[in-house]
């Protein structure tokens, strides 16, 4: 298969999630005797193009009109590159970028799309894709029928691609800015700098739930413990809804999907929607005052008690070493 990877970047480097999607693309290219091409969109992309070329051949759509990731323009460029038989499969990491933009490109490319794929198999000339449904209660195996297959993959399900021996080629593609749609205007991005690692990339994630009563307590308990462990902070939906944590902290079916080496669920009950976002973590610790909380069913280590007493004790004892 000729595979087109839509890569996300920070202006200088490919994002880890995209390197994981590239891991999927590389596996599939080997299985199908195919190829992988990486498409970068944005403006001022020389540095990131060089980074991407360490992993694959690169197409660069570099134009002022693509400075901000607006769905109508980006999707148009992707569809122009991938359409007309140029590629068999378009892939990306299942992030909000891809959910917004690559799904729209999917609509321009015939709608044969599987979201959040966690495993695949190439068998009898068919691509079998496994994806969770019903908040992860079931895994479905699906086959796509359409002119181009669109696949977003769950980053934690695939190993990051390795650097190639020989760098790939870099080719600029013409962007006809005047012909691009112009009905979405980007106004800004407000993100809360925590100074901590991203929850999807961290080796350890410390998450708090409704047991935590306010932002100060969250910072004092969850934040301090996270810093002691070099961890990212996350939370259940309950805290985001209450305005105690920002939306990008939400772990779960409709938030972020994480699979760190260690996940600590502190004062989180373990609703299926939360479990959908963290149950594939390697080691799970739960602290909860309710001995029957469902979170214990997916935990490796459980401690029953009050997080307001146990977290300070944990921090103190970790500090004491």
């Amino acid at each position: 298969m000729r595979i087109l990877l839509i890569a996300e970047h920070n202006g200088t480097h490919l994002r880890t999630a995209s390197r994981c999607a590239l891991g999927f693309a590389n596996q599939l290219a080997v299985q199908t005797d195919g190829s992988v091409t990486c498409l970068l969109l944005g403006s001022g992309l020389d540095e990131v193009a060089a980074d991407a070329a360490r992993f694959a051949d690169v197409l660069v759509a570099d134009d002022e009109a693509l400075r901000s990731p607006v769905a109508d323009r980006y999707a148009r460029v992707i569809a122009d590159v991938a359409g007309a038989g140029a590629f068999d499969l378009v892939t990306a990491a299942a992030t909000t970028f891809a959910k917004d933009i690559v799904a729209r490109a999917g609509g321009l490319l015939g709608g044969a799309m599987a979201s959040d794929v966690i495993a695949h198999e190439w068998r009898d000339d068919r691509l079998l894709l496994q994806r969770p449904m019903y908040a992860g209660a079931v895994n479905a195996t699906v086959v796509l029928h359409g002119p181009v297959q669109i696949v977003t993959v769950r980053p934690s399900a695939y190993e990051e691609a390795a650097v190639k021996n020989r760098p790939g080629s870099i080719e600029k593609i013409e962007v006809d800015a005047a012909a691009l749609p112009n009905h979405i205007q980007f106004e800004g991005l407000a993100s809360k700098e925590t100074g901590r690692p991203d929850v999807t990339e961290a080796r350890v994630v410390v998450s708090g739930g409704r047991a935590i009563k306010n932002s100060e307590d969250f910072e004092r308990l969850i934040g301090t413990l996270a810093d002691r462990l070099g961890a990212a902070t996350g939370s259940s939906r309950a805290l985001v809804d209450a305005g105690i944590t920002p939306n990008e902290f939400q772990v779960g079916q409709t938030g972020k999907i994480v699979a760190p080496e260690l996940y600590m669920a502190l004062g989180i009950s373990g609703a299926v929607q939360h479990l959908a976002g963290m149950k594939n973590s390697q080691v799970i610790v739960a602290i909860n005052s309710d001995p029957d909380a469902p979170i214990f069913e997916v935990a490796d280590y459980g401690l029953v008690g009050d997080v307001y007493e146990l977290i300070p004790e944990l921090i103190e004892k970790l500090d004491g070493d």
């Binding site: 908040a135 209660a137 991005l189 993100s191 401690l303």
Partner: protein
């Protein structure tokens, strides 16, 4: 102004989901169904816009499915939709075909705005709104946590992995909702009674001039379960010991 709110009927989110005997679908025999929670948020937003606007705003709820769908469309009417429209299909329809059917509904209804859930909590695809916007060549503002009517269109706050992004879109547009946009109301008893008397308009795929082209074929389905054994520790000291010396993660 007219706002179209496509909705989906999904199993209640508190229910345990099991795979059916065919190994291709879920066992629905015991399941209560609800309006997809994100679509309820979309309905609420549309109704609020109509309540707050000085101009008349008509809210039209749409469902794609069989007779069983009536119940959820009545819920939509009780929540404040003016009209409800059922596009009749006899089998589940994937996001591509939902989007194609909705294009036909849009051609008949000419809405200025479509508000729908960012994802349905059954297939968790997160595709239909984006497909629809692409097919209509309309702007989209996905994962909305705030929608404001402004001169020339909408200003929308979007929940992204990096934080809250703000975009401005012209109308007509497709907006998909995230959890924080609003809290859907419970329908009052009088509005439920009124909703019972309304007719639900029906449209067949033939009337819409469309044949379903399946894009996603499910070839297997299996339940997932956790095989972890939880070791209950009695103290913080024990927990630290396990994490250090057994799991070796800290």
């Amino acid at each position: 102004m007219k706002i179209l709110v496509p909705t989906k009927r999904v199993p209640d989110t508190d229910q345990r989901i099991r795979v059916a005997a065919d190994g291709l679908s879920i066992d629905t025999s015991m399941l209560p169904f609800v309006v997809n929670p994100f679509d309820a948020i979309a309905l609420e937003e549309a109704v609020r816009i109509s309540e707050e606007s000085s101009q008349p705003v008509e809210v039209v709820a749409v469902g794609v499915g069989g007779d069983e769908y009536e119940e959820q469309l009545r819920t939509a009417l009780a929540m404040g939709a003016e009209r409800a429209l059922l596009v009749e299909t006899d089998r589940p329809v994937d996001p591509w075909n939902v989007a194609r059917l909705l294009v036909k509904v849009v051609e008949r209804e000419s809405p200025n705005l479509i508000i729908m859930g960012k994802q349905a909590v059954d297939d968790d695809a997160n595709q239909a709104g984006q497909f629809l916007a692409a097919l209509l060549d309309w702007p989209q503002a996905t994962f909305a946590s705030k929608v404001e009517l402004v001169e020339g269109g909408l200003r929308v706050d979007r929940e992204t992995d990096a934080g809250i992004e703000t975009v401005r879109v012209s109308l007509p547009a497709v907006v998909t909702t995230d959890l924080r946009l609003n809290e859907p109301r419970y329908a009052s008893l009088p509005s439920i009674m009124r909703a019972k008397k309304k007719t639900i308009e029906r449209l067949s795929c033939e009337e819409l001039g469309l044949t379903i082209e399946p894009r996603i074929e499910i070839v297997a389905m299996e339940g997932t379960s956790s095989d972890r054994q939880c070791e209950r520790v009695d103290s913080v000291d024990e927990l630290i010991d396990r994490l250090r010396n057994v799991a070796e993660v800290i």
